[in-house]
């Protein structure tokens, strides 16, 4: 009975051979010990995770480990997870977080370091190959501690594996650029010329998020890292009035001037819709635009989209973001949870996610499927220079993001005031916040 079940589960799997061979070689099924266990998974009700439900069923078929999925609306996810993980014993065995939250989760001691499982020979699949997972994703979503507390480094540790992660690439309308005799831009200088050309031709150039608050900040951050800017220097001094940061704001202003009507009101949905509905020639944001452009319910431009690397300014630096999965410290089924995470992020699992319509996290998966998806070669090329530190993951970031940058950048795109003045004022405001929150205590202590 169990054998047929396993056989069924394996059937049609790319991993069939590997999984069964492993079982045979060890003379015991590595999952057997945990068969019948039920683990509870908390993740958001987003497309990638909905696609993953099939993979989860297949996992249960193959391993006998039951999985209960608690899929929550994205906005409710964090509060719910914190609530569960703060209990002495929680209901969740696997949680999925947005990279923004990882520092907070670890600081509160809510997560289990994954190193303790990667040392276990009976749990780790020798073929797992963690190095195949895009570095930028792993660092961005999984590593906490280290330099700045959210970057890799000797004091850092691995708490999660990226699952449903993404990076930024350039998408463009092949037909429009061809018609105008324009080459896809590869640098920011080229991009600015192209935008002007398109604008002069009466074609809305690039769409962007621009709504007051974190949306407009997100639009700006896309350009900050490639143009060589940072939010803080190494002493936590804000640098949002640096020439690089001001140039990024200038780019954003030019985008708003040459792009589709209404950028100051665009959130992510509106910005994407403008491109998908044919109202913009360029799109510089998440790679998810590729899947959306193929969806006839959302898109009028299927087949007309080409992809390129995030344009380079002084350096190559795309954004990374999305989700990672890890294990709460108060989970009662941590080994089974590890097996689950390993399964869905394994080479076979990653390939299966592509087949189910999700986003891969492994370079090998991207390369293997390059023929089927136009954007994959671009993403594979993009990831090595993706920048996991494109914004600080500190508690004060919320206030800086929304109250300081969100306001200043709205001024940038809705007025003609000098950008330097706007950013100088914002920088001063940011400094006051950092001062208030005690970031300069060490500096003043040393100074005395």
């Amino acid at each position: 009975m169990k054998l047929t079940k396993i056989a069924n589960g394996c059937a049609g799997f790319a991993a069939f051979a590997a999984a069964c061979a492993l079982g045979a070689a060890a003379l015991a099924n590595p999952y057997e010990k945990y068969a019948g266990t039920t683990i509870v998974v908390s993740w958001p009700a987003l497309a990638h995770f909905q696609a993953a439900e099939t993979l989860v069923e297949e996992f249960t078929e193959e391993t006998g480990i039951e999985v209960e999925i608690d899929a929550l609306q994205y906005l409710k996810l964090r509060d719910r997870q914190i609530l569960e993980m703060s209990k002495p014993t929680g209901d969740y065995d696997v949680v999925s977080w947005v990279v923004m939250w990882k520092g907070e989760y670890v600081a509160k001691g809510l997560l289990t370091p994954l190193s303790q499982y990667f040392t276990s020979g009976s749990l780790v699949d020798p073929e797992y190959d963690i190095d195949d997972i895009a570095d930028a994703y792993l660092q961005n979503g999984g590593i906490v501690g280290g330099k700045k507390g959210y970057m890799p480094g000797k004091s850092g540790a691995l708490y999660g594996i990226p699952f449903g992660a993404e990076t930024s690439i350039l998408a463009y309308r092949k037909d429009i650029l061809e018609e105008q005799g324009i080459e896809p831009p590869t640098t920011y200088d080229e991009l600015r010329v192209v935008m002007k050309q398109l604008g002069d031709a009466g074609i809305p150039a690039m769409t962007s998020r621009g709504r007051t608050g974190h949306q407009v900040t997100a639009g700006w951050l896309l350009h900050l890292a490639p143009l060589g800017g940072k939010i803080f220097d190494d002493q936590w001094n804000p640098t949002i009035n640096s020439p690089e940061a001001v140039e990024a704001a200038q780019v954003l202003r030019e985008i708003a001037q040459t792009g589709p009507t209404g950028i100051p009101t665009f959130g992510f949905g509106e910005a994407s819709a403008a491109f998908l509905q044919g109202d913009a020639a360029l799109y510089l944001d998440t790679l998810k635009i590729a899947a959306m452009s193929r969806n006839p319910k959302l898109s009028k431009i299927d087949g007309l989209v080409g992809y390129g690397l995030h344009p380079v300014g002084t350096r190559c630096g795309s954004e990374t973001g999305g989700f990672a999965v890890g294990i709460p410290a108060n989970s009662q089924n941590r080994e089974a949870a590890f097996l689950f995470i390993q399964y869905i992020t394994s080479k076979a699992g990653d390939q299966r996610m592509v087949e189910l319509g999700g986003d891969p996290v492994r370079i090998s998966t991207l390369m293997n499927n390059a023929d089927n998806f136009d954007e994959y070669p671009v993403v594979a090329e993009q990831l090595p220079c993706a920048d996991p530190d494109w914004r600080p993951l500190i508690p004060e970031w919320n206030e800086l993001n929304v109250d300081v940058l969100g306001q200043a950048l709205t001024e940038v795109i809705t007025t003609d005031d000098p950008i330097q003045t706007i950013m100088d004022a914002a920088n001063e405001k940011a400094r006051e916040i950092m001062e208030r929150e005690g970031y300069y205590t060490w500096a003043s202590y040393r100074g005395n």
């Binding site: 964090r78 509060d79 914190i82 703060s86 907070e104 509160k108 621009g210 709504r211 007051t212 608050g213 974190h214 589709p260 009507t261 209404g262 950028i263 100051p264 009101t265 509106e270 403008a274 509905q277 109202d279 508690p395 919320n398 206030e399 993001n401 929304v402 109250d403 306001q407 709205t410 001024e411 809705t414």
Partner: protein, 309 residues
Amino acid sequence: MTDRASSDTDDLGRPGFNIRSLNPYLFIFPAVLVMVCGLVYPVVDAFYLSFYDWKIGMPFETAPFVGLSHFKRMIFDADVWESIWVTIRFGFWTILIEMVLGISLALLLEKPIRGASVFRTIFILPLMVSPVVVGLIWRYLFDARIGWINYYLGMVGIEPQVWLGDAELAFFAIVFTDIWQWTPFIFIIIIAGLQALPSEVLEASKIDGANWWQHILLVKLPMLKSIIVIALLMRLIDVFRALEVMYILTGGGPGRATELLSLHIYNRAFDTQQLGYASAISVLLILLVFGLSFAILVFSDPLKEKSDI
């Protein structure tokens, strides 16, 4: 002997405890309970929180006590004052226009003219729409790219406007939407008030020789004063509570052009996650609303006026 004194004596007339004297308290107990749970507790809790620097997600036990520093910060916080100024301007324009429109329409549609009842029904529909839906409807109507408003303006040759992305246009948009949603409220209240006016007094004014304007300005409106004041008060409090529509329509943007105080508090609490500071601002909001209501009630005393009609 008063009723109250007699209820404090038993059947033999001896003063003392009487179970029946508890009845009034027993009967209002559920109402008091609901009040305490639903009203008093949150207010007291907000007041309490305003002394702590609690950021969302942090266990409250770890939030440092900061005394009055939130209130000190608030006094010098230009963003808070800007929100208050936006709220005042918003309240002024919406209430002024809603009152004038609502009262005028009520006076025009009071008489059973043919079609008036149909119009009345259609007209009050916005009141029945949930604020979130109102926000969504108007967000799409005002949308710069796909909105109907730009579409129809385009048909008469007007350039598309970024309604929700320009400080002045966005302010106009929230005022307009509020008027669309709340004029019916004034209309209904005034219609009800008009229909409750004693008909003989109105006839007396006609016999006394009042023309249409005099009839309205010198008789009808003064007699509606108490109802108008109550409507005004309710709208004024609503202005400070208004959140959902603006949250969806503009989110307070662009910049802080449409960030009402309530929305500012919301953004502080949940966007920048400073619950303690947001609580302190909401204490200010409560005091403002309380002060305003109190002032209006004292100066106009609608309940006293009411009794003589």
